[in-house]
Symmetry: C2
Subunit: 344 residues, 2 copies
């Protein structure tokens, strides 16, 4: 039965007990070299005994550094209101761990791209920097990013890594992954490969995947047929709609590369409805290796991104940005997970 209103010990209390001044306590606990080893150990012992912990608000206020970063998810433009992209959710785990291992606190928030999210974090000293996750309308996104840069706000973004990006960006090697998907399908003898996903520059990651696919086709001596590219945003119904549209055009195809697993799963549904066998009639490759990908019927061949590396790199890049260290955009390789949707 402890007191309800425990008087939290301060650095002054410790100083008094240790017979030193408050600043010395602060220096000792922060590991300053100008405190003797003996003094520091004495102070540390007292701190431990009192169950002291540094007041975060005071510390952040004084040092103007919160050791906190904010993770902002942007909701998809798709129809579902409440569901969050599972890929980003998975990334959350990895980012959280990266922060924890560096002693950083992590603030998280979901935003609509249209909202004034940039206002809430920039000046309030809530966070030292932002990690931005989410696709969405790239034109609007670019505008926001420009505002952040102009304002001097620190941030990293997950997305398509290009030379002319606004602000530092970390992302998968989407081009390389698209190539792998293409090569995989070519090696299985497929020649007419459809791409389900936006291929325009408003959706740069999808576009990169498509360009990778085209590159693989080119190397295989096959011209890519624009009729086999079919727009789809990142949700399941978009996938089935796209397949239906493709079938309606009468286009011939023996494989599909879907820009995401969600799209691929929708596509599977539409193919089943059209009585097409997977992979006998149509082989299909997804992207993201979501949990659902191994549960689908048949299990989905897909491209797995290294989430652990991704989270690590995001945090590392953001810190570099905050501490004004030089930083280089970097790309994370993907890996093909072959399952029965292509292997049969």
């Amino acid at each position: 039965m402890g007191r309800k209103r425990s008087n939290k010990p301060t650095s002054f209390d410790i100083a008094y007990i240790a017979g030193v001044s408050q600043p010395t306590v602060s220096r000792a606990l922060r590991g300053s070299r100008s405190v003797s080893l003996a003094t520091r150990q004495r102070i540390e012992a007292i701190a431990r005994e009192l169950n002291y912990s540094v007041d975060k608000n005071a510390s952040s206020l004084r040092s103007q550094r919160s050791n906190t970063i904010a993770l902002l998810f942007f909701e998809e433009p798709g129809p579902e209101e409440s569901t969050i992209n599972p890929f980003f959710l998975a990334m959350l785990g990895s980012i959280t761990r990266s922060c924890a291992s560096r002693g950083l606190d992590l603030l998280i928030s979901f935003q609509k791209m249209e909202d004034d999210w940039h206002v809430r974090y920039q000046d309030s000293h809530r966070a030292d920097g932002l990690i931005l996750l989410g696709y969405g309308d790239y034109t609007l996104y670019e505008q926001r990013l420009t505002e952040l840069v102009d304002h001097g706000t620190h941030f990293v973004r997950w997305g398509s890594v290009r030379a002319d990006n606004i602000g530092p960006t970390v992302g998968s090697d989407n081009f390389g992954a698209g190539q792998m998907a293409g090569e995989h399908l070519l090696s299985l003898g497929r020649r007419r490969i459809a791409f389900l996903g936006q291929a325009d520059e408003h959706y740069p990651e999808f576009a990169d995947r498509y360009r990778g696919l085209c590159a693989a086709l080119g190397q295989g001596g096959i011209a890519s047929d624009p009729a086999l590219q079919c727009d789809a945003l990142n949700f399941e119904d978009a996938g089935s709609d796209a397949v239906e549209a493709l079938l309606a055009t009468g286009a011939q195809f023996d494989a599909i590369f879907a820009a995401s697993d969600l799209i691929a799963i929708g596509a599977l549904r539409a193919l089943a409805a059209a009585e097409l066998k997977v992979p006998a009639d149509v082989a299909i490759v997804g992207f993201d290796n979501q949990p659902a990908a191994s549960m689908s019927n048949p299990p989905l061949t897909t491209l797995m991104q290294d989430l652990k590396a991704a989270g690590e790199l995001l945090v590392e890049t953001l810190l570099a940005q905050i501490e004004d260290r030089p930083l280089d955009n970097r790309t994370i390789p993907a890996q093909l997970i072959a399952r029965r949707s292509t292997l049969g």
Copy 2:
């Protein structure tokens, strides 16, 4: 091209421009009634124009209230290191939104139950309170909870709602849900229903579900057979192991109620391996309505918890706790989602 080092405006700047004192600015922006309407509006206009935002650290330090809550996930004791229980992940979305709508910041973190997680948040004024999510060894959990209570730390916990809980608890109506599962299976003519999941009081939620099932059986005039209860922790392999163990005993059963979808999916795998048809030979009901539940083969009948209500209630209860308002443990009803794993 904004300045990199923008001199953030303070309440003093606003005061100067408005021709009032700094405290008046503070009062105006916080909506104190002791500032005249005219003055307040003038101040608000200036603040908007300067893009002013209250410094969170200073505000929290002075008021001793951070308007931040921390969400702590406890990792499963199971084998997977990096994966997070999808149910809690889904809850995250709902909690985030509840916080956002109340203007609260949300700090998140994953912990091992063994860690000293209670130290980091209690005194540092990082957060006003904690939301605890996760199962795990209940004995250890209880010990930690007692420490929190003794220390006067505010928290709410997701779990089994009982009269003798340590600290406020919000949870699904696991007993009622277990009953629904039982009634559903009984109504389909099943009589020998196995339960996969821990049924002892170290895992109170699973135990509640089991008791609910037994109650339904009792009302149907059927004695529950202890031989049909088979321990399983919350991961996939536990489900298949349990089914294999059950089959090995030679026990007869025509239905399974699994304590979670993960367990159910593992069970499906083992049943398929044993060449048992679902639902013809064995009907199966899961719990959680995870995304994967609709993807399995056959799609899984399961119990859906109202996550939106859950998040809302967790936050509401925590705030009540923080503000010392009276609070009552409350329970959230579940809903049965019937799919082909029972309907055929």
